[in-house]
Amino acid sequence: SEGGSSDGENVNETGELTIAVVPKLVGIPYFNASEAGAIKAGEELGVNVIYTGPTEADASQQVSVIEDLISRGVDVIAVAPNDSDSLTPVLERAREEGILVMDWDTPADPNVVDLSVNQIDDFEFGEAMIDKLVASMGTEAGEIALLTGGLSAANLNTWLDAVEEVVADKYPDLTIIQERIATNERQQEAYQITLDLLRANPELKGILAVSTPAPLGAAQAVQERDLQDSVSVVGSALPTDSGPFLEDGSLDAAILWNPEHLGYLTVYLAKELAAGNMPQNGDVIAGEIGPISVDGKKVIMGPPTNFVADNYQDYDF
């Protein structure tokens, strides 16, 4: 694909509305899926969508990308910040130039956005994951491990903060070993580290993994050791990738929203915003997205979906 960007024409000359959607980085499955949604929305709604972002999840590169988008004179910029603070100056500049600014996927500084599109309520999401893990483990006591894509990924940290909070309040008998363990957004590292973890902690009962590759790697390790019955794995993964692991129970559940819907919703709301319409609580968006909840500038797409062995085939992302 072409990264979803338009051709080299001067975007202002077309007279069409141009919406720039900036992911944290391009070239990972999650953001590819949202790209598909954003592009689809662009086609259906008749707006020009530019989907472009840095090649690494690097805050400074993302700033450059947005600066260049400002130069290109787009109408709306919707960004999934790698680091919300670092975008504040450039987003302020965008607004000074008369560009509407939104965030999506991960919140930016609320003072500089006109609208914030959230897939989910972060706390709810964290709670949903740990609840699911406890349910799969079948016990509220024992050792669990938290795997994360990267120790410095803000949204993953928010979720894990929620998880830790819930554990402290609701499941005091759970022990989290070794704080958060980084897997560098790589399935291989998650796999390797989980093997080591299983080795080091024979009592381990559950693994909660955030970032899309981490649950897969963890599940693969569990599968290899044939520990499907004694170690539960729950995490945020895409259903198609999770299939093989859900099948044999090495992954108990993948919990995520539909990233394609998120991309679609972002573009949809951007168009509305440009037309001067703020979304209302309970609005039902075209397509399968369903009702959204709105609190001021903050839009929440809906509850997460649990993908399990029985239903993962119903999804194509």
Binding site: G8, D58, D68, I70, G73, D85, P89, L151, S152, A153
Partner: protein, 323 residues
């Protein structure tokens, strides 16, 4: 023979022409390229990368390499940010950042200059070390909450010229001065070519090398100030994507990877070329991944050009001598 020498373009001049040519091409074919917004963007984006590339260049001239460069900048930035958000005055916070950078530089310098271990090994280790320190200090979160005046450094401008660009130009001029016109600078080039003969000439090569890593530390701190101010925050991976790019900029700028040669102006041109490619292609809506491809192609092409150019010049001179 003398005449031929004057006609013969230096590597740096060739690169200057490449830069100019690319600028003209882009001005002609890339819409909005000459718009005030784009020019402004380029001026704001270039300084931090430029300063880091100069820091890398100085180390490469000594036939070393500094893999810890960007993580040191990040650590220094994190310290500044933490100090600022704890309410320290701006100069005090910057002093803390400088102190951190200098300590990192001392660590590298001690093992490389005094113990004598090869730079790639030590900086490989210290890169991992510095990253870990930033990570441990921030727990991976970004640190922000700066006074508005601090943000002026990276976002403010004097007239149309960004303050950060002025800082970069100042750094470039100072670096050029130090390298060309001080005893230390001469020591850097000489020790980069032949450390033994330089030592035997009564130059304290250990001190020269130690100062190189301290100067590199100073520059990373300057880059850290600009970055934290521009991005309004600091985190563990601040500017991490500049690492290999800065090596590429230095060698594209003509710096000899084996040491002993390298000019500030060459590196500045190279940084300019990378900036043009990046901005121009973004304006064209080219996928970002393609920018990386093109940078690789340019790197190899320019060096191929140098190769043919050298060959041609040699031939001319040989012909001249034979006549």
């Amino acid at each position: 023979m003398k005449l031929l020498k004057t006609i013969r373009l230096s590597k740096e001049n060739t690169l200057g022409f490449v830069l100019l040519g690319m600028f003209l091409l882009m001005a002609l074919f890339v819409p909005n390229f000459l718009s005030a917004g784009n020019i402004k963007n380029m001026m704001f984006q270039l300084p931090e990368f430029g300063i880091l590339s100069l820091a890398m260049m100085v180390v490469i001239i000594t036939s070393g390499i500094d893999l810890s460069l960007t993580y040191r900048a990040a650590l220094s930035g994190v310290i500044i940010a933490m100090a600022l958000s704890a309410g320290a005055a701006i100069p005090v916070a910057i002093m803390f950042g400088l102190l951190a950078a200098v300590l990192c530089g001392l660590l590298n310098g001690f093992f490389i200059a005094i113990v004598g271990v090869s730079p790639i090994l030590i900086t490989l280790g210290s890169m991992i070390l510095f990253e870990s320190i930033s990570l441990g200090l921030t727990k991976g979160n970004s640190v922000s909450g700066f006074p508005p005046e601090y943000r002026v450094i990276g976002n403010g401008a004097v007239g149309a010229v960004p303050i950060s660009l002025l800082i970069f130009l100042l750094v470039a001029v100072i670096t050029a001065m130090l390298l060309n016109r001080t005893k230390w600078g001469r020591g850097v080039y000489m020790a980069g070519s032949n450390p033994v003969a330089t030592l035997f000439s009564g130059i304290n090569t250990k001190r020269v090398l130690l100062l190189v890593y301290l100067y590199g530390a100073l520059l990373t701190c300057v880059a850290a100030v600009i970055m934290t101010s521009r991005y309004n925050s600091a985190r563990v991976d601040l500017g991490s994507s500049y690492l290999l790019q800065s090596v590429a900029a230095a060698v594209l700028g003509g710096t000899n990877i084996q040491g002993g040669y390298g000019k500030v102006i060459g590196t500045v041109y190279a940084v300019g070329i990378f900036q043009l490619i990046s901005s121009g292609l973004n304006l064209l809506g080219t996928p970002r991944t393609f920018v990386s491809v093109l940078m690789g192609v340019i790197l190899i092409l320019v060096l191929m050009m140098n190769y043919y150019y050298d060959k041609l010049a040699d031939k001319k001179e040989t012909a001249g001598a034979a006549a």
